[in-house]
Amino acid sequence: MPDQLVFAMEVFLNGLMAGVLYALVALGFVLIYKASGIFNYAQGVMALFAALTLVGIMEGQVPFSHLINAVFGTDVHHFGWHMPALVSILLTMAVMVFLAWAVNKLIFNHLVNQEPIILFMATIGLAYFMEGFGDIMWGADIKKLDVGLPQGINIPIDETTYGWFGYGFFIDNLDIVATVIAAILVVALVIFSQYTKQGRAMRAVADDHQAALSVGISLNFIWVMVWSLAGFVALVAGIMWGTKSGVQFSLSLIALKALPVLMLGGFTSIPGAIVGGLIIGVGEKLFEFSVGPLIGGATENWFAYVLALIFLVFRPQGLFGEKIIERV
């Protein structure tokens, strides 16, 4: 008879996995914040947009078909092709790079040297815009996303643990894939930002736009690069979450799951996103498992934030965030 401890272990492992998925979203935020001091409210919508575009390309959907049909009275929906997943991902990435370019050209180029709150506000505008734009472009129905990632219970783990405890652990294959991808991403990004010239320039821009300009760092280049990277991360997050729940509007709300992760890990730290994600994932799952039933459940949302809050009280810049420099 399996006991509570074994259950707790299973919950713990699943918490870790959930945390990785949160971290994937959080990474996008961190990248942009690190490179420009912008808190990108639109990150969630970007993930949605990336996933929508990916499905659209794979399924050969005609973009703006609804609009076209409404205006011209035509009846077009599909190109009638089926694009292989990998090609579609590459094409989607191209779209995201274009988006990054456009965002920089049309918005942030005009907002150099403004305070963070104003840049934040611009991303609000962007989020509104893209929410409408994505829907017009690809339609608001639910789309199934299948790029061939495995999904469902991992049998070997189930069987092994059954052998050990008489109770098989449930670990989702998709989560395992996500963990691997997240690990690779984090390592790559850390190396990039900490040890390369562009990475250094990126951090310099975040500190002081004007000074960065004055030493000849091209804000345009850095920002397009970073928004493209963030677009890429959004695409990865979109694929993971889209595979889980279908691609639809609610995908943009996953951003909310990333916020406590961000603040726990620190807005500026790439490893922080991953560690924060793990702590939040494990914390909320264990809390729901142990205390949840006593107080009526559905505690995860607030508990994640409270947990992060508790950490912050001790470390106001998050676990790995850059220390807030306070001098007079």
Partner: protein, 406 residues
């Protein structure tokens, strides 16, 4: 000319479900206009208003369309329904919350302007249990039933009924709330995996449905033991989970598919003429059929009202009389081209909720369609009636309403 309003949502988190319903609702009226020249000779004017499933926008929509003389409101959201109940009552405009909204509105003596036929959430809960009784030879004692629900007014609706029924039938009920939007349900499903309930019921909406079904597939919960309310039983909910969702069950109060004479008319008069609502790609889906059904009931009530009052351009108040006198018989439905599409029921002043008939459908992943697997069955009136009495009485006293017909 008679005006109907459609408070629809084609945007926002529930757009994917709002669209087919709105399309069905609209197409039916278009059909009447095209084929019959409207209702009783009066052309139908349908004003659509986008709510995004948002209560404030719902209010704005209501206020902006009520001036058009709309005969009846179908808000398609429990939240908006609650908002509109006092307003519509004050304005003397009927509301039809079909299969959602405030359950005790069934008591027409208190809720004079609100109708929720043919079935409500408590009916749904009872029918689900009835189905479980049926497949268990009438005995549920010692069985474990878990309810996975949207953590909102809507999701909480069935709890009281399920608790009452648990007392009566001796099953053990556990509750698993899921917060909006419901993208992350690991905890709930791990718990189900540990507790191994015999059956899982679900009151979900939007992405919560897809994730729940996917998670159920992932933990290999037997799908035939997983039953959703009628709002958790559309193609949208099962398709993302692929073949694994095969066998998933959901309640319904109307039939599936396009195999009815009416759909032929629809094709010739609406679709082929390019008049279909939206993208025109939803015809025959579960929620489309539900929208169609709702429009049909509205049209029938309007016809009844025209009959009662002897005028064709009826007012909302007259519409109410029509709804209160509505009688849906098999003969009538066959005549409309929808034989055996929905349950028979009749409405009266005391009973605004119909007779509480519903059925169980099951998803056939291979065929990619929903199939009815039971006949229409009635909910447990002995249990529900007292609950409805109590709840409506409370509302009446809180708001100083004297119950009664007239």
């Amino acid at each position: 000319e008679v005006t109907f309003s459609a408070l629809s949502y084609r945007t926002g988190p529930y757009a994917a479900n709002g669209i087919p319903f709105a399309d069905g609702y609209q197409d039916y009226f278009t059909l009447l206009n095209e084929r019959d020249g409207g209702i009783g000779g009066e052309k139908i004017n349908l004003v659509e208003c986008e709510t995004g499933y948002n209560t404030e926008k719902g209010v704005e929509c209501y206020e902006s369309t009520k001036g058009t003389g709309a005969l009846v409101y179908q808000p398609l959201s429990t939240g908006i329904t609650y908002q509109l109940i006092p307003k519509a009552t004050a304005d003397s405009i009927p509301i039809h919350s079909m299969g959602y909204g405030r359950t005790s509105a069934k008591n027409g003596e208190v809720f004079r302007w609100v109708f929720n036929y043919p079935a409500n959430y408590w009916d749904g809960a009872s029918i689900a249990i009835k189905h479980l009784l049926d497949i268990n030879g009438g005995d549920l004692s010692g069985k474990k039933v878990a309810l996975v629900y949207h953590n909102s007014a809507y999701g909480k609706e069935p709890i009281r009924t399920l608790e009452e029924l648990a007392k009566k039938h001796g099953y053990e009920l556990s509750l698993l709330p899921v917060d909006h939007p419901g993208q992350e349900q690991k905890s709930q499903w791990l718990q189900i995996r540990r507790d191994r309930p015999d059956y899982v019921l679900m009151w979900g909406w939007g992405v919560m449905n897809q994730v729940a079904i996917q998670e159920a597939v992932n933990i290999r919960f037997p799908m035939e033991n997983f039953i959703g309310i009628w709002w958790s039983g559309s193609e949208n909910d099962v398709k993302p989970a692929g073949d694994g969702a095969n066998g998933y069950k959901a309640l319904t109060f109307h039939n599936f598919g396009t195999n009815y004479p009416l759909f032929d008319d629809l094709k010739t008069h609406v679709i082929d003429k390019g008049l279909a609502a939206g993208a025109g790609d939803q015809v025959g889906t579960v929620l489309y059929n539900r929208g169609l059904y709702a429009a049909m009931l509205a049209a029938e009530a309007a016809k009844t009202a025209q009959g009662i009052h002897g005028v064709t351009a009826i007012t909302p108040a007259q519409m109410r009389d029509g709804m209160e006198a509505l009688e849906m018989t098999e003969a009538k439905m066959a005549e409309l081209g929808l034989p055996n599409f929905g349950p028979e029921f009749s409405v009266s002043c005391q009973n605004h909720g119909g007779n509480g008939f519903g059925a169980v459908g099951q998803w056939d992943a291979a065929a990619g369609e929903w199939k009815m697997i039971t006949d229409y069955m009635q909910s447990d009136q002995d249990v529900l009636q007292p609950l409805i009495e109590a709840d409506s009485a409370a509302y009446a006293s809180e708001n100083g309403i004297t119950a009664g017909c007239n």
